[in-house]
Symmetry: C2
Subunit: 580 residues, 2 copies
Amino acid sequence: MSRPFSISRYLPILDWGRRYNKSKLMDDTVAAIIVAILLVPQALAYALVAGMPPETGLYASIFGLLVYALFGTSKTASVGPVAILSLMTAAALAKLSLSNSSEYIAAALTLTFLSGVFLLLLGLLRLGFMANFLSQPVISAFVTASAILIALSQVQHLFGVSASGQNMTELLVSLSQSISNINFITFSLGVGAIVFIVWCKSGLKNILLSLGMRREAVSIVSKVGPVMAALITALIAYEFRLDLQGVQLLGKVPQGLPGLTLPNFSLDLITNLLGSAVLLSIIGFVSSISVAQTLAARRRERIDLDQELVGLGAANLAASFSGGFPIAGGFSRSVVNFDAGAATPAAGLMTAILIALVALFFTPILYWLPKVCLASIIIVATYPLINFSTLGKSWKYSKPDFSAVLITLLLTLMVGVEVGIAAGVLASVLIHLYKTSQPHVAVVGRVAGTEHFRNIKRHKVETFDHLLSIRIDESLYFANTRYLEDLIFALVAENPKVEHVILMCTAVNEIDMSALATLQKINETLLDQNIRLHLSEVKGPIMDRLVDTAFFAGLSGNNYLSHNQAVEDLKDQQLPLSAL
Amino acid sequence: MSRPFSISRYLPILDWGRRYNKSKLMDDTVAAIIVAILLVPQALAYALVAGMPPETGLYASIFGLLVYALFGTSKTASVGPVAILSLMTAAALAKLSLSNSSEYIAAALTLTFLSGVFLLLLGLLRLGFMANFLSQPVISAFVTASAILIALSQVQHLFGVSASGQNMTELLVSLSQSISNINFITFSLGVGAIVFIVWCKSGLKNILLSLGMRREAVSIVSKVGPVMAALITALIAYEFRLDLQGVQLLGKVPQGLPGLTLPNFSLDLITNLLGSAVLLSIIGFVSSISVAQTLAARRRERIDLDQELVGLGAANLAASFSGGFPIAGGFSRSVVNFDAGAATPAAGLMTAILIALVALFFTPILYWLPKVCLASIIIVATYPLINFSTLGKSWKYSKPDFSAVLITLLLTLMVGVEVGIAAGVLASVLIHLYKTSQPHVAVVGRVAGTEHFRNIKRHKVETFDHLLSIRIDESLYFANTRYLEDLIFALVAENPKVEHVILMCTAVNEIDMSALATLQKINETLLDQNIRLHLSEVKGPIMDRLVDTAFFAGLSGNNYLSHNQAVEDLKDQQLPLSAL
C-alpha cells in the first residue's frame, strides 16, 4: 500500500483545495453552521468535565479545527473537545495535586502538547498500527464505564452541590456526603433541561416528521435541543435572578480570541504526564478514526490512518499553544457534519471561524448560563455511550473476550480511567497470546477415494501405522512452539510404529525464529529415534525464507507441495532402521 | 489433553516409585555419584555469583533436589543452583542496597520463597503457557549477554582484586580502577585452572578415546575437570600457604546441615522483590523445561509442563526454608545425569544425600580452596553459553526478530539483566502484534478450467468485474481488523463495478469479538452502497460460534462451503439496485 512521495500526502488541503467550487462551498457552509450550533454548548460543557475554564473549550475548538482542516484526510470528522478525553484530562491532572488553577491550566497545555507530539510522531513514523492494540470489546467496555463516570461527575451540578472523585466509589461517597445541601431550584432546572433535550430527540422529531419535514432536516433540527436548552435556561436565570437563589451560573467568560499560550515544559511535569498523554492519545485517535472511517466508506472515500495521526497531532499542538486542552474527532458532531452534507475539510475551517465569532462577540450572553444546564447536556450526551450489551455478547461468543471486557469495565469504574484502559490493553494482548498458544491441531487421514485429508476424530478416513499426518491450524510463533513440541513428542510416544511425521501447513501463515529453532530441535530429536520429519503445503512467502535455513538443509524428510503427494510417496516406505 | 484427576499426577513419585527395582537403583546410583561430583564445585561457585556464602549453594542443592524428586516429572533434570539465576539473584538484591550480610541472606530467602510461590501458583492454576511469551531468539540473546556479565563478574577473582557492577560498563570501569592491584599468584593459579579444565574437555578426552575407552565414559570423565582443579588448587594453596601470599581462600565453611531458616516476610521487601521473582522464575522455568523436554523426548517419554512448575516451585520453597537461594534445572548437569543413565528421579534423591554428606563431613577441606579456582570454573562454564550466531541468523531470516535480539542483547549488557529480559519480552509481543497487524491479503481469481483460486497479481486467472474475491492469510483479531476494514474499503473504492465481496477464509483460524464487530460494520457499510458481503470456506470451529451472532444473522450475502461454489453462484447475479 505504499505510494510515491508527494507533498499533498502530508498536506491534503493541496489536493481537495484545487478542486474546490461554489457548490461545495454551499454544502460546507450549511454543515459548518449546524456543527457550530452543536459545538458551542459541548465545548463549554466538556471544558467543565476537564476541570478547565469554559472559554478554553472554545479556544481548543478554534485552532484545532483550523489546523485539522489543513492536515486531516477525513472530509467530515469534526475535531474538538470530546467527553472521554476531557474526563481523562481531569484524571491525569488530578494525580498531580496542583495547588492553583493557573498551574492546572499550564499542566493541561503540557498534556495537550505531549499528546500532539506523540500523535505526530506516530504518524510521521507511520506507526498508526499501534492503535490496533485496543480491541473492540475493550474499547466498548471502556467507553461505557467512562460515560458512567462522566455522568456521575455531573450529578453534583444537577444537585447544586460540590463533589469530586476519580472513580465510582469516590464519586458516590462524595455525593452522598453533600446531598443534604441540594438546591431544589437548580435540580428542577436541570431535570427540566434533560427532559427538554430528550424530548427534542424523540417527541419533537416525531411531530416534525408527521408534519412532512424531510428526514435529514428533522434529524438535524432534533439536535439543536442543547442550544435551545442553554438559551432558555439562561433567559430564566436572567429573568428571575436565579444567581441570588443559589443557582450557579457560568459567570464571566473572557471576550476575545486566545493569545499564544505556552505549556509548562518542566521535565518533572513531562515525566509525570507522559503515560497519561500516551493513553489519552491512543483513545482519542481510535475514537476519531472509527467514526471517520465509517463515514468515509459510506461515500466510497478513504482516509489515510497515518496522515490522520499527523492531522490530530497537529490539531493538539495547535490547541496547546492557544489555551486549549486535548481534542479529537467527536462521534456525534462528525455524524451531524456528514448528515448536513459537509463536502470537504473546509466545513471544519468555517466552523472554526463561527466559534471564533462566538468567542469574540457572544461571551457576555454566556454569563447567565446556569452550570446545571451544561451538566444536563453532558448527562444526555453520555447516555447513548452506555452499552452493556458487549458483556452479554462476549459471554456468548467468547469467554476470554468476556473476561477482558469485565476487567476493563470493573477497573475503570472502581479504580479509574487510566488503570482501566491499561488493564484492558494488557488483558487483550495476554488473551490473544493465550488463545494462539494452544492452537487447534488435528491428526488427519485421507478420505478414501479422494485427495482430501480430514481430522481422524471426526471422519472415517484411511491412515497408515507408520505415517503420522498432523495439520496445525495456527501460525507457528514463540507463544505456541513449546505446545507444538510437546504435542508432537506425545503423539510419537503414543504411536510407537511411527516412522514418518508429516506436518501439513495449510493454515500456517508465519514461522518465526522460535518456531524455526523448535522445528530444528523436533527434527533432530525425531531423527535420534529414527523418525523422519516432512513438511507439506508450506505457503510461498514462508518457503521463500525457509529455504536458506539450517533447519531446511538438515530436514530429515522431504518438502511436499501437496499432502496427498507426501502420503502417496511415503506409504510404502517402511525403511529398515539401518537405512537412515 | 485433559486427564482424569489422580493423586499421582501431583505426586509423580507414586507412579515411578511403585515400579522401582534393583536395576534402576544401580543406574540411578552411578548417575547420582557423577552428578554430585559435578554439582559440589558448581554449587559453591554459583553461591559466589549470587553474592551468598558458599555453603548456601550446598544447602540449596540438598533440599531442592529432595523435593523435586517427589514432585517433578522429569526423570533426568538435575535441580540446583544455576549460573543465570544466581546472577539475577545478585542483580535483584543489589537494587535493595542492604546494609549487612544477614539482611542480604534473609532477602535472598524471600526472593526464593516468592519465586517458589509464583511457580507453584502457575502450576496449580495450570498457567504454564505463560512461559511461552519468551521467544527463542530473545532467550538466546539474554543467555549470551548474561553469560558475558557472569564471566566479567568473575574477572575480579581472577585478578585477585575487588570490583562490582550490574552491567558491562559498570563492571569494566570498576575492573579498570583496580587492575593495578592485580595479584599475580592468584592470576597464574586461575589461568592454570582454566587451561586444565579446558584440557580435560578436549585434550584428555582425545587421549582417553584413543586408549579405547567407551565414548559415554569419556564424556563423563572429561567433566570431572572442575573437581580435579579444585582439589589440586586447594592442595597447592595448603602446601605453599598461598593465603600468606594474598591469594583469597574460601575460608571456614560451616560444617553440618542447615537448620530451618525463615525468609524475611516484610511487606516492603516483598513488594520490592516481586517483579524480580517473576522474571527469575520464568527464566528458571524456561531453561529447566527446555533441557528436560529434549532429554525426555530422546527416550520417547513425556514431561508435564504444569507439574514441572509445581516441582520447581516446591523445590524453591524448600530451598527458601533451608538457607538456599533460587534454583532450577541446570543444563549441563541434566545432560550428564541423562548420559550417566539416570533412570528415575531417585537419582536426584541420592545426589541430595551425597551433597548432604559433603556438607556434614568434607567442609574442612574446602577451607583451602582458592576463590580464583571457583571463578575459573564459572568462566569455563559460561563460555558455551555465549553464542552470537542468533544475531546473524535472525538478520537473515527475519528483521523484526533481529531487532528483538538486538534490543535484548544490548539492554542486558548495558543496563542489566532485569531490564534486558523485560524489554525482550515486550519487544517479542509487540513484534508479533505488528506482524499479524498487516496480514498478507490477496485478491484471487480462478485458474481457468480448475476450481483453484490464486493471487491475481501472480497468476493468469479469470475474474468478474462485479465480484471481488479476497483471501486473508491470517486469523482476524483486534490487531488487524482496522487494516482489513481499510483494505476492503480501498479495494471497493478502486473497483466501482463491484457488487459482491467474497471473503475466502481458508487461513483464518480465529475471529475474535473485535473482528466480529468489524465484519458487521463492513457488512453494513457495504450494504449502504448496495454491495453484498459473502463468506467462503469458514472453518468448522469458527462457524460453530459464528452462527449465533447478529453479524451472521444480518449478513447481506451467503456463506459458501467452497469458494468455487460462491463464484459459480454469483457470477451471473448482477442484480438491479432496487432488488436489494
